[in-house]
Subunit: 160 residues, 2 copies
């Protein structure tokens, strides 16, 4: 039973690597352009600080998830990793929330502020942002499960 | 020494109550209006889903922080509270990130998307949002310290 849990935990770590890498790649390749009154306007993630933050946060989580795969579970550092897992979970949550706020605005706009939706003009860009956010959601849920597993492990010293 | 740590932890819980309540009250009372071409436009937090989410998340954290004050530290539930602390910390982080993304847009705008800044027209509203976000930041840092204390406690069973 303990072995099954360990394999499940390793799969969660691998899923975190895959999801954060997927989020970074899809967001970084988001690009679209539209022509308004003869002027070509470009949509890139670099134009929006919240989306840049999303890429940076997922990039950090990707590197962390890779490094942590090579830390042996018997090392002293392994018991302290829960602290970093919590901080990374919070960082990824912030990233998905900030990107989500901008994605919602891009799709629906905000008539009260005079901010019009842009997704009808740059649908390819919005599809990429949506795809990156799905990967980002998977990463957040994976990190939450990792933290819950960490807590379960430290609350039950004999487990697994 | 153990008593000092317990008092410090109680102070953190009380600070969480105060900061989340402050965030809710300041954001909920944010209101300003401006006249453009003879038409009066109103700025309210209810017009922006990210700010509504901020109020709801801080409201939930306020109620949780109040309830948790009355759970005795000797109860079995007390040891599982770390799970809820982590989830609430993530929820508050999401709230501050989403509100932060919108506040940044309100202040700086986004010329690429044709979204103009609004803070020069409704400064009172933006000042309230900024005040609420400062309280929200204090709440997030407080919850992070609470989670770190929780982890320290479960990693060191004899402490305090």
């Amino acid at each position: 039973m303990a072995k099954v849990w360990r394999v499940f935990f390793l799969l969660l770590r691998l899923l975190a690597v895959a999801a954060t890498l997927c989020a970074v790649v899809i967001m970084a390749t988001s690009h679209d352009s539209t022509t308004v009154f003869g002027i070509t306007l470009e949509a890139k993630f670099q134009h929006t600080p919240a989306l840049v933050f999303f890429v940076v946060a997922n990039g950090i989580a990707f590197i962390y998830s890779l490094i942590v795969l090579f830390i042996p579970s018997t090392s002293l550092l392994s018991r302290s990793i829960i602290v970093f897992d919590v901080i990374l979970a919070m960082l990824l949550t912030a990233a998905i929330a900030a990107a989500g706020a901008m994605a919602q605005l891009g799709k629906k706009g905000n008539s009260h502020a005079g901010w019009f939706p842009i997704c009808d003009r740059v649908p390819n860009f919005c599809d990429h942002v949506m795809g990156a956010m799905i990967c980002g959601c998977v990463a957040v849920i994976t990190f939450l499960l990792i933290v819950l597993y960490d807590i379960h492990q430290v609350l039950s010293p004999k487990f697994p």
